[in-house]
Amino acid sequence: MNIIIAILVLGSIAAFFGAILGFASVRFKVDADPIVDQLDALLPQTQCGQCGYPGCKPYAQAVADGEAINKCAPGGEDTIKKIADLMGVEVQPLDESHVQGEASKSNRPKVAFVIEEDCIGCTKCIQACPVDAIIGAAKQMHTIIIDECTGCDLCVAPCPVDCIEMRELPDTIHNWQWDLTSIPVKQLD
């Protein structure tokens, strides 16, 4: 008799907690994998595809699924470090095989620039731009919205007349960095 009571009591407790867990899993269901969103937030969002995935979100998904964390060339070491912190893995050096083009080699931010007199208006770069930062129509000159350009380099290759080049953003007082080690500038006029 005691055994039956014990089984009943334990069984009812188990059923009670099971019900609570079941309810919680339905009530507090998380749709997206939150780790993917967190990873996506760490990536530079250039959507350049240098990692081999079509955009930053797919790469974030892949990293969450166990892909190597050192494939983001535009993000560089900083991004790798952040991802390593988040994923709890070792920091790895950047995988050089995923560095393409000039854009990612120097630290200075670059944007694409259309040499407008050479543009034939083929719209190929517009189709390549992942962030719709190129304005233009068929047989009309194209130009790049510098503020929207992520410097991903993707528009350079499709151009049949090689009229797109990556240019460094000019130094202005808005993006100027104090540099104590530099020799003081002396303007001669």
Binding site: D40, A133, Q177, K186
Partner: protein, 764 residues
């Protein structure tokens, strides 16, 4: 509230944490009146002199402008316009060094001063009571007034605030050890300043107005007390001298005992602060319709013979001010010039740097008073953890901790240490026994954090745009698929309708299918039949091509066979007879090829294939019948018309001919002497006929299709030239048979003329 005022009237103030007492150098300039300068020759007016963005240009190079005329247009509240400080001509609009520690250039207007100082038309307002608040704010905005204390925040935004204002604080503390510009302004223009304060009072309606002046400026305090006598609302507060009492948050703490929370603005606590010079500028703008085109600048330092405060026009190059104050030039060393005060200022990179709305001091120190400005390298040594920096920090931060984090670029840690609350006052660096330029490290870190924030914003924007684009592409794809589906359905429906049109369309499609099938079958059957003949390779070339090609090939094959038969019969006859006979056969063949031409005329591929086939056929002929070369030659002549307007075919033919000639010559040399006489002549005849034919063909080509490729022609010409050379050689060797040659030449020419005469008809 009451207690604050009571304390203030009793002269008791709160204190802020830290602060320093650097040696006062105000006496250098404070005893001299503000000097009116002569006009400089050229003014350099930067388009952007405040926090925000530059306005749209209103003037062009070469324009004559009057004093006070706006040079840029404000299209946005964060844009402050600039005005011509005097009359003159715009000589250039280009990038020039600006008053910024980076020494970077920005767009500046170069104004050549004409010296007349002619004003534009001004509307003096005698009674400000008639103006509405909006009108006053508009006037302030149009006058281009931005905070003149240092930061340069647009004033019209600052005074256009809605919430209830408890205190309007007028900042006349001027805590930097050298600067006396506000001091002098208060002494000399106290009434105008009070008028300006009244205007702000009318707009903001604060509960109380406090004018804060450090107690090291007794004359200024007295002047303002006199000017505000009888105005209940305004209290002149003589605050204890301590650097940086002039900092916005520090001054609020001194006066009210309230601390402005980290990340919030004074306006959130119901406090608005304005600089003394700004109040003066507001009065000028609203009452006298005078935009902000000049300001008081303290030009000081022991390197100057006449340090003093001057009224400097905005855009005056520093060089001019230093000359006016008689700078002692240094020998073989450049004079460091500091813009702003010694505590917060920066070394300017060029003497062409202009005075802007925020520049209150130009400091030219000598080696004794400021040796650090002359040193090229920093004397920084390791931090000894003395903690003096945190003792003097007015924001109660931990400068030493921040320094380490800044050097390690540990930005999250800097954020935890509240780097953003640092006011760059430089008190920590001033007291540091290790001479660490602490503020520089903070500035670098701040700039980098700001940049990182901008990058994050940009990344966020890029992400949104990328997602939007993906969505759009997806939608477009679906729409396209739908459209295609609909179109297919419509076609099917139209086809299945029982109307006669539909039936017609159906039958047309069926007919087309049938044709395609028939073509396939024809090409399959053509292959074996042709391969039996000599020109098996011709057939293989064309067997997968169109019907027309096949038929053309068959026609040519027939013609050749006929020719050969004829030639075989007449080989024993004389050359003359042979020639006359070939003429007739040529004509026959001509008619045949002419009949095949229309079919293949517009098919380039077919022509090329035919040309290749011919070349091969010729070779075959040569090898099989070495002594009947004349027949082959004739063969070529007869086939020539069929390829007249095919440039590629021509080239191929020319090359083939050249080869063949060479071959023929070799064989001729080996063959019997009787043949020797006829062969070269035949060759000459052939070449002449082909060349004329080619020429004619080329002409007709040019006429019929002017867009023909030049290259092809050139290649053909080269081939012809080569052939001619070879011919000449042959001629010189066999000069004995010249008579025969002539005869033949003539006859062949005749025939070729006939051919060329027929040519236009065919091409038509």
């Amino acid at each position: 509230m009451e207690s604050i005022l009571e304390r203030i009237t009793r002269g008791h103030f709160w204190d802020f944490h830290g602060g320093i007492h650097p040696p006062e150098q105000k006496t250098i300039t404070s005893s001299k009146p503000i000097k009116q300068l002569t006009l400089p020759k050229q003014l350099i007016i930067p388009l952007q002199q405040h926090i925000g963005r530059e306005g749209d240009l209103l003037v062009n190079i070469g324009d004559k402008v009057l004093k006070g005329q706006p040079l840029t247009l404000s299209t946005n509240p964060m844009v402050v316009p600039i005005h011509a400080p005097t009359s003159g001509t715009i000589s250039a609009i280009k990038n020039s060094v600006i008053a910024h520690p980076s020494g970077l250039t920005q767009l500046c207007i170069f104004l050549d001063v004409d010296g007349e100082d002619t004003w534009r038309k001004r509307e003096v307002c005698t009674d400000i009571e008639q103006l509405s608040n909006n009108q006053i704010i508009e006037k302030i905005a149009d006058a281009g007034i931005s905070g003149m204390g240092g930061a340069g925040f647009p004033t019209h935004i600052k005074i256009n605030t809605k919430p209830e204002i408890n205190f309007l604080i007028i900042n006349g503390a001027e805590c930097e050890p050298y600067i006396t510009s506000d001091d002098l302004l208060m002494m000399e223009q106290s009434d105008a300043i009070v008028d300006g304060i009244k205007i702000i009072d009318k707009v903001l309606c604060p509960a109380f107005i406090l004018i804060a002046i450090e107690d090291n400026k007794p004359k200024a305090i007295k002047a303002l007390q006199q000017a505000t006598a009888g105005i209940e609302k305004i209290k002149v507060c003589a605050i204890p001298t301590k650097y940086p009492a002039g900092g916005e948050k520090q001054l609020i703490q001194i006066l009210t005992g309230r601390e402005v929370a980290s990340g919030s603005l004074p306006i959130h606590s119901g406090i608005v602060m304005q600089n003394i010079a700004t109040c003066f500028a507001i009065n000028e703008a609203v009452r006298h319709d005078t935009p902000l085109i000049r300001r008081v600048v303290t030009v000081t330092g022991r390197a100057l013979n006449k340090p003093q405060n001057v009224w400097a026009l905005i855009g005056t190059p520093i060089k001019f001010l230093l000359e006016q104050c008689e700078l002692e030039p240094l020998e073989n060393e450049s004079q460091p010039v500091i813009m702003g005060g010694p505590m917060m200022g920066f070394c300017v990179s060029s003497e062409l740097v202009p005075i802007v709305k925020t520049s209150n001091c130009i400091l030219a120190p000598d080696k004794v008073e400021m040796p650090s400005a002359f040193e090229k390298e920093s004397k920084e040594v390791e931090c000894i953890r003395c903690g003096q920096c945190s003792d003097v920090c007015p924001s109660q931060l931990l400068p030493q901790e921040m320094q380490w984090s800044a050097k390690a670029k540990d930005y999250p840690q800097l954020d935890k240490l509240n780097l953003s609350d640092c006011i760059d006052c430089g008190a920590c660096a001033y007291v540091c026994p290790s001479q660490i330029p602490l503020v520089h490290y903070y500035r670098i870190a701040k700039a980098e954090i700001r940049e990182q924030q901008q990058l994050d914003l940009k990344a966020e924007k890029a992400k949104v745009r990328f997602e939007a684009r993906k969505l759009r592409l997806e939608k477009e794809k679906i729409a396209r698929q739908e459209k295609h589906k609909k179109a297919a359905a419509a076609r099917k429906a139209a086809m299945n309708k029982a109307t006669p049109e539909a039936a017609g369309a159906k039958s047309a499609v069926a007919a087309a299918l049938a044709r395609v099938k028939a073509k396939k079958a024809a090409s399959n059957t053509a292959t074996p039949s042709v391969s039996e003949t000599q020109e098996s390779d011709l057939a293989t070339n064309t067997d997968n091509d169109q019907k027309s090609q096949v038929s053309a090939a068959i026609a040519r094959a027939k013609a050749k066979r006929q020719l050969k038969n004829n030639a075989a019969v007449k080989t024993s006859e004389s050359n003359d007879a042979n020639a006359s006979d070939t003429k007739t056969t040529q004509q026959q063949v001509q008619s045949e090829t002419a009949s095949t031409q229309p079919i293949s005329s517009d098919d380039k591929k077919a022509k090329i294939a035919a040309a290749i086939a011919k070349a091969k056929a010729k070779k075959l002929n040569k090898s099989s019948e070495a002594n009947s070369a004349d027949e082959v030659d004739k063969d070529i002549v007869t086939e020539k018309p069929s390829v007249q307007d095919a440039k590629k075919a021509k080239i191929a033919a020319a090359i083939a001919k050249a080869k063949e000639k060479a071959q023929a010559k070799n064989k001729a040399g080996a063959s019997s002497k009787a043949d020797e006489a006829t062969e070269p002549t035949q060759e000459v005849a052939e070449v002449s006929s082909t060349t004329t034919g080619n020429n004619e063909g080329g002409d007709s080509e040019v006429h019929s299709s002017p867009a023909l490729d030049k290259k092809a022609k050139i290649a053909a010409a080269i081939a012809k030239a080569k052939a001619k050379k070879k011919l000449k050689e042959a001629n010189s060797v066999e000069s004995e048979s010249s008579d025969n040659m002539k005869d033949l030449n003539e006859e062949e020419k005749n025939s070729s003329e006939k051919l060329s005469a027929q040519q236009p008809d065919e091409s038509k």
